[in-house]
């Protein structure tokens, strides 16, 4: 009898990727492969100043000496880094003045994604930067933001127009040679978003970036840098999708956040890169380095992520709590289905006194997938009166998937308190039957239970995203939500 209920649950979790279309836009690409010339090619394409090229080359040379990390709980065939196109720009070229100038084909892409730029502009008041393959396509609301002194543009534009800020902060949180994938990104990053909130300004709207990999055989290496000056606030959202392709595509992004005294940065991600098909063919390798530093006292950085896509996810949004009384938060829902593998979590490094961090991680595994939480809480010797609370829950659907928890707790200060709790459970037959008995079918019951399970994290998302994220959860795990 067990089998019957389980297979019902399993049936409801089998669903297809809804964002797997390919947009027919002509792309301007670099030749395949990676060497110093490619790095120079990318830099030249973007008209970069000499210092930027040198920074890239330094990272590239370092990358050559590094080895791909193997400690994550994921398995994949070796990546041939010479088989990847490191630069692909949609041909219709930039310097767009308004959203209306965007290639109509591309606009339809965003309509399919459920992000109509026009609509965004009109209704929701969210400023959007759009990055397709490697290049920033459009940034909305620039004008309104610039009146407040907020800079929100592509990183390429920032390199041209705000070189001092870029020079000062880029690589200050994630050094170019921090790890294998960060070094690769530093060498070949093609675009991304840059955001600067001046002293005392609260961004009046959510800032948002949509990433999409479109071209074949391309890797996407975007770079995001957000700097919040003293007393400022910004909420930033990113969303990602990619077409269905048989081969694996590499996405190695770097995100750096800098929060000065009393500043707050809230960074939310809904990641829905193509996860591969039911047999595990294709899908994005999502190897991302995200790190923020609470530089000033009383600053706060909060990461929220809903991860439903990618064949492999390798991602640990982290916070360095340097300022006294600073706060770091990490809220995550990671869903894996079919052959997906996720090794994700966070790192909270407490350096300042009276620093606080909170980790809430919810992993949902279905199919034959593997879902791992890996998190480090480090309390430095001088970080007196620091606090951490971690809660990691796993929910299993079906008996062929795996859930793994690897918390690392390092405490070198005796006035600090670190607490970690974790549970693993499955969707209980009795829960499903209880819902059935109230007239709710199994599929809907599973959706209700999952949304309940993930609620604590979903509540952290800005309204505009919460609905979409909830939909995504449902789509990843079920046919539809009733």
């Amino acid at each position: 009898m067990n089998d019957v209920v389980l297979s019902n649950i399993e049936k409801t979790v089998l669903s297809d990727y809804k964002y797997g279309f390919v947009t027919n836009i002509r792309a301007d690409e670099a030749p395949m492969g990676l060497n110093e010339d490619i790095v120079r090619f990318i830099s030249a394409k973007k008209n970069e100043p000499q210092w930027m090229l040198e920074w890239r080359l330094k990272a590239f040379r370092q990358w050559l000496k590094m080895e791909e990390p193997v400690w994550a709980n994921v398995k994949f065939p070796p990546i041939n880094y010479q088989d990847i196109i490191y630069y692909s720009a949609p041909k219709q070229r930039p310097s767009l003045n308004s959203v209306d100038d965007i290639d109509p084909e591309l606009k339809r892409t965003f309509d399919k994604l459920g992000i109509s730029l026009d609509e965004q502009k009109r209704i929701s008041g969210v400023a959007v930067d759009v990055v397709v393959d490697s290049v920033s396509i459009a940034t909305t609301f620039k004008e309104q933001l610039s009146k407040l002194g907020i800079i929100f543009c592509s990183i390429s534009e920032a390199i041209q127009k705000h070189p001092d800020l870029v020079k000062k902060y880029m690589g200050s949180v994630v050094p170019a040679t921090d790890n294998y994938f960060a070094a690769l990104n530093s060498a070949v990053f093609s675009d991304g978003s840059f955001c600067f909130i001046p002293k005392g300004v609260r961004s009046p709207m959510e800032l948002s970036t949509y990433f999409r990999i479109n071209a074949e055989n391309t890797g996407q290496f975007e770079r995001t840098l957000i700097v919040a000056e003293e007393g400022s606030y910004v909420s930033y959202l990113e969303g990602c999708t990619a077409p269905m392709r048989d081969e694996n595509q590499l996405h190695a992004a770097v995100v750096e956040l800098v929060a000065h005294e009393k500043a707050e940065i809230k960074y939310s991600t809904v990641q829905n890169w193509y996860p591969g098909d039911k047999e595990g063919k294709g899908g994005i390798y999502n190897f991302v380095t995200k790190r923020g530093i609470c530089l000033g006292d009383h600053s706060k950085i909060s990461w929220t992520q809903v991860e439903t896509g990618s064949a492999i996810t390798w991602k640990y949004p982290s916070v360095i709590l340097k300022g006294n009384h600073s706060i770091g938060e990490f809220y995550s829902v990671a869903v894996t289905n079919n052959h997906q593998q996720a090794d994700t979590g966070t790192k909270m490094t407490h350096i300042g006194k009276n620093t606080k961090s909170r980790i809430v991680s919810k992993g949902i595994s279905a199919g034959v997938s593997n879902n791992s939480y890996r998190g480090l809480v480090h309390i430095n010797k001088n970080a007196s009166n620091s606090r951490n609370f971690s809660q990691c829950d796993s929910l299993l659907l079906g008996d062929k998937c795996g859930a793994h928890t690897f918390p690392y707790i390092e405490v070198k200060n005796n006035s600090s308190i670190v607490e970690h709790e974790a549970t693993t459970s499955k969707i209980g037959e009795d829960q499903v039957f209880y819902c059935n008995q109230r007239g709710i079918d199994t599929e809907t019951a599973v959706a209700l239970i999952i949304n309940g399970f993930a609620k604590e994290v979903m509540n952290q998302l800005p309204m505009e995203f919460a609905v979409e994220a909830q939909k995504l959860l449902a789509i990843s795990l079920e046919g539809s939500v009733g």
Binding site: L396, T405, E419, A422, T424, K426
Partner: protein
């Protein structure tokens, strides 16, 4: 002579002199593994927080025949030893002359002898099973030199009235001592036994003990296992206890670590049958520069097993406490109930604790949870006691003692429990004065 070169020569000689016995193949495999894996470094995830490379850079005296009398051991015997079966290892080798076997239901043999006679099957089938849980050279090193070990069989249906005390004596009087004791205990069907293991270093030089004890638990058998580490600050240990419950059975363990230099404990509990149960407790109460790394594995290889694990640490001075607890739930191990908890109190500015409680779950119908806390002594509770007239010191001592009590009350043999309680209260008072 370099320690590693010495190993190679010793190994060749050992294999030549004892070529006929049933251990030769096991040793050869282990030796190859050691040559491949080497001494673990902190790059190995399982050794992230413990460096033992330094222990291999010292000069050791490989004294295989030290003259130690029974009388010399009297100072170190555990309480109620007059009623116990005492098994003594000296410098890693089982000494039948120093050992005393009081129970007729207990068979105690040289491991080599057991590997040749009627116990050959048991030995060859079970010896070295722990290698599946240690992806490192240190386990292999012991196995490569498995000789002079002990084989113990608790007879079917017999519950031993007298516990087994195992002493690992290192003679470090004239030089540093390195020893590798090896033991295999087979607890037969429906038998019951209490085992207490401890470490003793004689002399002022350093000792390093790389020890493996494997316990095989048969149907309906009950095993209590206690390890007490209260040796000198010059004594280091890598101490592996591998408990394999091959049929439905019950085990209970308490590991107490108080003193030493670098201590690494590996405690594995493997459920190789349905409905096994195990309780694992540990207390590390540390001072000075002592470094204690407790690695535990509970492997739910079969369904419907139950495990409950509680490890606690009180870490002071410059000491370091590490807890790495892993719970595996294998694919078919449905209806597993596995709980794990690790609680630590840091009582000095310079102490540190690293904890890594891990769950790896491949079955869906399971109830598993783990929790971990690291903090200082509860100030609110301290204040409560002080407000009732206690001095700050005695309030602290009382609270720490209460903290430790959860573990101590699980030491079932009364003389041993009293002894450990005494050690702990001495420790806590010394600490707070």
């Amino acid at each position: 002579m370099n320690t590693l070169t010495y190993f190679q020569e010793q190994f060749n000689q050992l294999q030549r002199t004892d070529a006929a016995d049933g251990l030769i193949a096991i040793r050869k495999t282990a030796s190859d593994a050691f040559n491949k894996l080497g001494i673990p470094t902190t790059r190995n995830e399982e050794w992230k927080y413990t460096r033992i490379g330094g222990l291999f850079n010292k000069e050791y005296q490989f004294d295989i025949n030290p003259a130690i009398t029974s009388k010399e051991l009297d100072d170190f015997r555990l309480p109620a030893h007059a009623q116990a079966n005492e098994i003594v290892f000296v410098n890693g080798l089982f000494s039948s002359t120093l050992s005393t076997i009081r129970s007729s239901d207990l068979i105690v043999l040289n491991l080599e002898d057991a590997a040749k006679n009627e116990y050959r099957d048991i030995v060859t089938k079970n010896l070295g099973h722990s290698v599946h849980y240690a992806n490192d050279g240190i386990n292999a090193l012991n196995t490569a030199f498995a000789h002079g070990g002990v084989f113990v069989q608790v007879k079917k249906g017999k519950s031993l009235a007298n516990p087994i005390y195992i002493y690992h004596v290192s003679n470090a009087r004239s030089g540093n001592s390195f020893s590798q004791p090896r033991g295999l205990i087979h607890v037969d069907e429906n038998a019951g036994v209490q085992i207490v293991e401890t470490f003793v270093t004689l002399g002022e030089q350093e000792s390093f003990t790389n020890q493996i004890l494997e316990i095989v638990v048969q149907k309906d058998a009950r095993v209590e296992y206690y390890k007490i580490q209260n040796d000198k600050s010059t004594a280091s240990q890598v101490s592996t206890t591998h408990i394999r419950q091959v049929e439905k059975s019950f085990t209970h363990s308490v590991v107490i670590s108080l003193d030493g230099n670098i201590i690494r404990n590996n405690l594995n509990v493997v459920f190789d049958a349905d409905h096994c149960e195990s309780h694992l407790y540990g207390l590390y109460c540390l001072q000075n520069n002592t470094h204690v790394d407790n690695h535990t594995v509970v492997d739910n290889a079969k369904p419907s097993c139950f495990s409950n694990e509680l490890y606690k640490g009180v870490v002071g001075d410059n000491a370091t406490g590490i807890f790495n607890g892993k719970i595996f739930v294998r694919k078919d191990a449905q209806k597993t109930n596995a709980y794990q908890s690790n609680k630590n109190i840091l009582i000095s500015e310079t102490a540190s604790v690293n904890a890594k409680p891990q769950l790896e779950i491949f079955a869906d119908d399971v109830k598993c949870s783990h929790g971990c806390t690291v903090g200082s002594l509860d100030e609110e509770a301290q204040f409560y006691l002080v407000s009732r007239g206690l001095s700050k010191q005695s309030a602290r001592a009382l609270l720490l003692q209460a903290f430790a009590m959860d573990i101590l009350e699980n030491i079932k043999p009364e003389p041993i429990r009293k002894y450990v309680e005494q050690l702990i209260s001495e420790r806590l008072e010394i600490d707070v004065l």
